[in-house]
C-alpha cells in the first residue's frame, strides 16, 4: 500500500486482499536467532510443525540432502530459516531432538557476518 487511498476508494470495512501478512516482515522483532547446523539435522520436521510463524521452509527433495552422520535424507527436507519472518522465539531450538538448532544473540550473528572470511 504505497499510495494511500481516499475514504471513497476504501473497500467495505477496509477489506484487503488475502495473505497481506506476507508483506509485513516481522523478522525485525528478533533479539535472538536460531542457527541451524545442517550436519546434525535429521529432517524430522518437528521444527517445521512447531514454528508459530511458518518461517521454516520445507520441500520435497528427490535427490536428498546430507544431514546427521553424513546420511542423505530424501523426501521432506527442511531448508534454512526464513529470517524475514522468524521472530526468534526459540521454539524450534527447544523442540529439536538432535539439538542441531541453537539460539544466539542477533548482535553476535551480525558481528560474525562482518568478519573477514578466514579470520579467527
Amino acid at each position: 500500500m504505497s499510495e494511500k487511498k481516499s475514504w471513497e476508494d476504501l473497500e467495505l470495512a477496509i477489506e484487503l486482499p488475502p495473505a497481506t501478512s506476507l508483506g509485513y516482515k516481522t523478522g525485525g522483532w528478533r533479539i535472538v536467532r536460531p542457527v541451524w547446523n545442517a550436519a546434525e539435522c535429521i529432517h524430522c520436521m518437528i521444527c517445521v510443525a512447531y514454528c508459530p510463524d511458518m518461517a521454516i521452509p520445507a520441500e520435497k527433495s528427490e535427490e536428498g540432502t546430507v544431514g546427521k552422520g553424513g546420511r542423505v535424507f530424501k523426501g521432506a527436507v527442511r531448508r534454512e530459516t526464513n529470517f524475514d519472518y522468524c521472530k526468534g522465539c526459540g521454539i524450534c531450538a527447544h523442540e529439536c531432538p538432535t539439538k542441531c538448532l541453537s539460539m544466539i544473540r542477533e548482535e553476535e550473528a551480525e558481528q560474525a557476518a562482518c568478519k573477514v572470511p578466514g579470520e579467527v
Partner: protein
C-alpha cells in the same frame, strides 16, 4: 392475509426470526430476552427452521460467534438485554466497523446498579454511539415488522451495518397482544437470503477482514462507515415500501400522531407511546390540541424530518426512559439538536420517566400536556414523572 396470533413481544421477535430463518443463532439467556431464544429454540428443535443454534457460555461469546458466522457469510442473529448487552459490548462495538449486518432484538431493561430486571432504556442508550442502526417498537406487532425491515436494511449492499430492534422489557416482551403474522412465503420472498458476496467462505474471492488500521487509515475507514449510515434513510424508505405491500400500512421513520394542528406534543420511544396516544385522544376529546411524535428509527436520527414535523408545535415535552447524568437526557438531547436549526423554536421540556420499569399512566402524560400548554417550562432542567419528594 396473515394470521392473528395472541403472542408476546418476545414471541413476535421469535416469529420474525422463524420467517427470517437465519443460518446461525447464538445467544445466552438473560431476563427479559430469554423467551425470544426459548421460542426460537423450539423451532430449531422441531425442524421448522434450518438454523444452527449455538449455546454459549456468555454474551461476549454470543456476539463473538455471531461475528464469526456473519463474517463467514452466514446470516447470524442473537438477542439480549441489559447486562448481556454490557457483557458483549466489546464485540457490539466491533461489529459495525467490520461492516457485518447482524440483526439483534434488544429487550430493553435497566442496566445495573441498582439491580433491576424491568424495562427502561439505560441499556440501549449506552450503545447508540457505536454505529448500529437502532429501531424502536411500540408493541409486539411493531417488533415483528421492524425485525423484518431491519434485516433487509442492514444487509443492503449500500449499508452493511448491524441493527438492533428494541422493545420494552416485560411491558412488550411479556404481555400478550394480538399480532398479525404475515404469510410465510410472502415474508420469505421479501427477506430473501444473505448474499455470499462478502463471505469469507466465498473461496473464489479470498480476502482479509478485520485488519489493523493505524493513524494513517482509521479516519478514512470511519468516514466510509458514516457514509453507509447516512444512506440508511433512502434504503429504509425503499425497503419500507416493499414491506408495506405485505403489511398494508406504512413504515415511516417516526410516527406523527395527531400532530397536524397540535399546540403541544410529547416525544417518546417504545411502549409509552401507546399510553401517550390514549392521553392524546382523551385530551383531544376535551378540545385540547395535542399530539405525539414517536421516533422509530433512532440511529441514524432523522433530524431534518423530525424538525419539519414539529416546526409548528409551540411546546414539546420529551419523555426519556433513561438518564445521561450531568447532561441532557438522550432523546431530549436529539430533539434539541434537531430543533436548533429552526428560526422560531418551540418551547421544550425534558421529562425523565419509567426508570426501572416504573409505570407511566395516562394521567401522568395528561399532566405533562397541562404543563406544556400552561407554558411554565424550564428547558434547562429536567423534570421527573412520579418522583417522590
Amino acid at each position: 392475509m396473515g394470521v392473528k396470533k395472541a403472542i408476546t413481544g418476545a414471541q413476535a421477535a421469535a416469529e420474525a426470526m422463524r420467517q427470517i430463518n437465519p443460518d446461525v443463532v447464538v445467544a445466552y439467556p438473560i431476563t427479559p430476552q430469554t423467551p425470544i431464544v426459548e421460542h426460537f429454540a423450539t423451532y430449531v428443535a422441531n425442524g421448522i427452521v434450518d438454523t444452527e443454534m449455538v449455546p454459549v457460555e456468555s454474551e461476549h461469546s454470543a456476539m463473538s460467534a455471531a461475528v464469526g458466522a456473519e463474517a463467514a457469510g452466514a446470516r447470524a442473529m442473537s438477542a439480549t438485554s441489559s447486562q448481556g448487552l454490557a457483557l458483549m459490548w466489546e464485540i457490539v462495538a466491533a461489529t459495525p466497523g467490520l461492516r457485518l449486518p447482524i440483526v439483534m432484538p434488544l429487550v430493553n431493561r435497566t442496566i445495573s446498579a441498582p439491580l433491576n430486571i424491568h424495562g427502561d432504556h439505560s441499556d440501549v442508550m449506552g450503545v447508540t454511539t457505536l454505529g448500529w442502526i437502532q429501531i424502536f417498537s411500540e408493541n409486539a406487532q411493531e417488533v415483528y415488522e421492524n425485525l423484518l425491515l431491519a434485516i433487509r436494511v442492514a444487509e443492503d449492499e449500500r449499508i452493511q451495518l448491524p441493527a438492533m430492534v428494541n422493545q420494552d422489557g416485560f411491558i412488550t416482551s411479556h404481555a400478550i397482544e394480538p399480532v398479525e403474522i404475515y404469510d410465510d412465503d410472502k415474508v420469505r420472498a421479501f427477506v430473501g437470503t444473505r448474499s455470499m458476496e462478502r463471505g469469507l467462505l466465498n473461496v473464489a474471492h479470498p480476502r482479509t477482514i478485520g485488519a489493523m488500521a493505524l493513524p494513517d487509515y482509521l479516519l478514512e475507514v470511519k468516514r466510509a462507515q458514516e457514509e453507509a449510515m447516512s444512506r440508511v434513510f433512502e434504503v429504509y424508505h425503499s425497503v419500507a415500501k416493499e414491506l408495506s405491500a405485505i403489511t398494508g400500512h406504512e413504515h415511516p421513520l417516526f410516527e406523527a400522531y395527531r400532530l397536524d394542528d397540535a399546540e403541544a406534543a410529547v416525544v417518546v420511544l417504545n411502549s409509552a407511546a401507546g399510553t401517550a396516544k390514549v392521553a392524546v385522544d382523551a385530551m383531544r376529546d376535551r378540545g385540547m390540541r395535542v399530539g405525539l411524535l414517536k421516533p422509530i428509527l433512532f440511529r441514524p436520527f432523522p433530524y431534518a424530518e423530525i424538525r419539519d414535523a414539529l416546526k409548528n408545535v409551540s411546546a414539546i415535552g420529551v419523555l426519556d426512559r433513561s438518564m445521561d447524568f450531568g447532561a441532557y437526557a438522550p432523546v431530549y438531547s436529539e430533539l434539541r439538536n434537531s430543533l436548533f436549526e429552526l428560526d422560531k423554536r418551540p418551547k421544550l421540556q425534558s421529562y425523565v420517566f419509567g426508570l426501572g420499569g416504573r409505570d407511566i399512566l395516562r394521567g401522568d402524560i395528561e399532566v405533562v400536556f397541562d404543563e406544556l400548554l400552561s407554558g411554565s417550562l424550564d428547558p434547562e432542567r429536567q423534570r421527573y414523572i412520579g418522583l417522590r419528594g
